[in-house]
């Protein structure tokens, strides 16, 4: 019973992470690609309009997944939550600063009544930089979980609060995450415009960010082996991870085929699936662990809260899903399936 409860919660965690990375990721990426100094001012203006229209109705909902993940962790896995919040205090604060800056600036830009060019530029740059900054630190934080440098026993500030996330591997995962987010955003935005020139522009963005994804992905593996982190080893011993890796790579061909035909719906689906495969691989490699403290893996199964707590959490999540998913469907149906009509 207890194990089943934990499994159900892990399903919710995994689903929320996948949804946050795919939906929230596209949102972060939109900020990042707005930052890239590409295209003339005409194109950049159009790009801003498309991003406003595409992200405006959904950005707040996209970020709720993060809140759901936090709540599941602090109610269901308090020890894991506590350790992450202590050892990764610095990257977490960095993430929060970014979240505050980008969310408010994005909204301010949209509702600004005196949008002078200077003001618009400031808003856009802040939105872009904070999107880049936040996604980078999200990657750094994720990288730190299993690196084995999280410690409760060290005594000095550096090894307690800096060493866990400081190094080549976290930095390369941070870069990888920013590339993935930009790639997701480019793919997503292709379907958000009817104008052929803008579609071409976003397809071009998708190509280029895709190259970054491949490059930084390779960097992640290199950095891991350079650091002596057993990622590669674990990876090739795990059939699930290998399958996920193969799927993620094979679907690239399908993606580019569909993208050539500019089938927005399928390209989005494939890109989302790719990113999900990468995450599945990541989960599979570390299964069933939540993090590594002082060289010892902490499993989800022996760090969960008592049974009555898990029951209440599962009830809350199931009832919550009955409200959230239909309303999300309605939101998406209203804004994302009627694009062509408007």
């Amino acid at each position: 019973m207890y194990e089943i409860s934990v499994l159900i919660l892990l399903f919710f965690i995994a689903a929320s992470i996948v949804l946050y990375v795919v939906l929230g990721g596209a949102d972060y990426g939109a900020g990042i690609i707005e930052l890239l100094p590409i295209g003339n001012s005409e194109i950049r203006k159009k790009q801003r309009e498309i991003v406003n229209r595409a992200m405006g109705p959904v950005w707040e909902a996209n970020h709720m997944w993060l809140v759901i993940i936090v709540v599941i962790f602090f109610m269901g896995f308090p020890v894991v939550f506590q350790n992450i919040m202590v050892s990764l205090h610095i990257p977490m604060v960095a993430v929060l600063i970014g979240i505050v800056a980008r969310g408010s600036v994005f909204t301010f830009r949209h509702y600004e009544v005196e949008l002078t060019p200077a003001r618009e530029k400031n808003y856009t740059i802040t939105f872009g930089l904070s999107s880049l900054w936040t996604s980078f630190w999200l990657g750094v934080s994720a990288a730190s979980l299993f690196r084995g440098l999280i410690s409760n026993q060290s005594l000095d500030f550096y090894s307690l609060y800096v060493a866990p996330w400081w190094g080549l591997f976290p930095i390369s995962l941070g870069l990888f995450i920013t590339s993935i987010f930009s790639f997701l955003a480019s793919i997503f935005l292709v379907g958000e415009t009817d104008e052929v020139a803008m579609k071409k522009y976003f397809v071009n963005r998708a190509w280029k960010t895709n190259l970054f994804v491949i490059g930084t992905g390779a960097l992640v593996f290199l950095a891991a082996s350079f650091e002596g982190y057993e990622l590669v080893n674990r990876f090739f011993k795990n059939p699930m991870a290998i399958i996920a890796f193969l799927f993620a790579n094979l679907s690239f061909f399908l993606l580019w085929f569909k993208l050539k035909k500019r089938k927005a719906f399928y390209t989005r689906l494939i890109a989302a699936a790719q990113v999900s495969f990468i995450l599945v691989g990541w989960f599979a490699i570390h299964w069933p662990n939540a993090l590594k403290i002082d060289g010892i893996y902490v499993s989800f199964f022996n760090s969960a809260a008592p049974q009555p707590v898990l029951n209440q959490l599962i009830i809350a999540l199931l009832v919550g899903s009955c409200f959230i998913f239909p309303s999300l469907y309605f939101l998406i149906k209203t804004f994302k399936m009627k694009v062509k009509e408007s």
Partner: protein, 428 residues
């Protein structure tokens, strides 16, 4: 500044910042929905203009509230991991419901803001209403989590380990009802007076008189109604505190010595060293009566608590007095409004001037009330179970955390204020 002080100031500042936007985010959508309803019923385009005007304000303020709320969900763990390790599983339930409600609010606000002409007008109106309802619900859940810190129940501690957790009992703790009623009505009051004041200002300037008058009436009705209700709820809340947290009540009133026929002090400054109230005007028996409906009832004083388990009396007493004075004053203003509206059938110009002056008072009262309840619980983070100092993060350098968020929020607050000012000048 010690590590503990820095962490406490960080939390206080983050909450004090968020509470303003949260209060607006969970009540202002109702104002918008009322105007929208009037438009759909009467087809008077002024109500449509008003709905859209308020909607834009809600959009900006909700965004700031949402991001500062996300920060808080992390800060609980970043600053108080010792607290979250114990409390997370116990009070996670209201938080998980809050998460759900917040999520629905985020979806509904997207639908409402961008959904004009994309759905049936009444479905669209419903989306606006859901923004308010789910926002209001999430406020109740968050306050329920806070009330557990005041009156913890629903768990047992055996050898320092939490056993037999009952999250439902924890959520519906003895303080949840009066605290959440008090907070939610305070939000309606503060936002009601805030909005009414802005529109009164432009009415006095004779700008867009018709729309501003309609806006003023909707806001003032909510403000006046909730202001008449609030003293009753506040009284009920104080009576509950007298039973549930006698040390807090004693600090509210600067009541040092346990006594029967306890006096109520108007104003005054508590002196913790001499354990007396200075410069206050005592009303004999009034505290006993207010707390227990009996002028001879015994009221427990701070002398019943060891010195290191007493809240800092001066801060609690002064903020409590500010809150009560504003609450009483706003109840008076609310009565005046109903008198003018229902009996005199006309609202005189001078009342609009008063309304402008009252505009920030509700928010000041919310901050004062929040300080009262939080500082009044000191030194406990979980009343009589865990001290704030035991919950503190081991991470050194909390001063940096404090200054970082101080500057971030001051900057954000300034940007938001300036943008809203431009928006108000443009639309109103």
């Amino acid at each position: 500044m010690t590590e503990l002080e820095a962490a406490r100031y960080s939390m206080a500042f983050s909450l004090g910042f968020h509470i303003i936007f949260a209060a607006i985010g969970m009540t202002m959508p109702f104002f918008m929905s009322i105007a929208h309803y009037k438009f759909l019923k009467t087809k008077n385009s002024q109500y449509l203009d008003l709905t859209k005007m308020w909607m834009k304000g809600v959009a900006v303020l909700f965004a700031v509230g949402a991001v500062s709320g996300t920060v808080l969900s992390f800060e609980l763990g970043l600053l108080w991991p010792g607290f979250m390790k114990y409390a997370g599983p116990i009070i996670g339930m209201p938080f998980s419901w809050e998460g759900t409600a917040f999520f629905l609010e985020a979806v509904a606000i997207g639908l409402f803001l961008y959904g004009w002409d994309r759905m049936h007008p009444w479905v669209h109106w419903g989306a606006g209403l859901v923004v308010g309802l789910s926002g209001f619900a999430s406020g109740i859940f968050v306050v329920a989590a806070n009330s557990w810190m005041n009156t913890p129940q629903g768990f047992e501690i055996v050898d320092g380990v939490i056993k037999s957790v009952d999250p439902i009992k924890a959520m519906f703790n003895p303080a949840w009802l009066h605290q959440s009623m008090h907070m939610q009505v305070a939000a309606l009051q503060a936002v009601g007076f805030g909005v009414a004041g802005i529109h009164a200002y432009f009415l006095l300037k004779r700008r867009k008189v018709e729309i501003n008058k309609k806006a003023f009436m909707i806001a003032m009705f909510i403000a006046a109604g909730s202001s008449l209700l609030q003293p009753l709820i506040g009284h009920f809340a104080a009576q509950r505190v007298a039973v549930l947290q006698p040390a807090k009540l004693a600090a509210f009133e600067g009541h040092y010595k346990t006594s029967t026929r306890a006096p109520l002090y108007i104003a005054g400054i508590p002196n913790d060293e001499k354990e007396i109230m200075e410069y206050g005007i005592p009303i004999p028996g009034a505290l006993s009566f207010l707390a227990f409906n009996d002028i001879d009832a015994e009221v427990i004083g701070l002398d019943q608590f060891p010195k290191d388990e007493r809240p800092p009396t001066a801060v609690v007493h002064i903020s409590f007095q500010i809150m009560v004075m504003i609450g009483s004053f706003l109840a008076l203003i609310g009565t005046m409004f109903f008198y003018f509206f229902f009996i005199k059938k006309t609202v005189p110009t001078v009342f609009y001037k008063i309304a402008v002056l009252c505009s920030p008072l509700g928010f000041i009262a919310i901050e004062a009330g929040w300080i009262t309840t939080e500082v009044g619980r000191q030194p406990w983070i979980i009343y009589e179970f865990m001290k704030v100092s035991e919950a503190l993060t081991p991470v050194a350098g909390m001063q940096y955390h404090f200054f970082l968020f101080l500057f971030l929020y001051l900057g954000l607050g300034l940007l938001t204020f300036k943008l809203l000012k431009r928006m108000v000048n443009h639309y109103v």
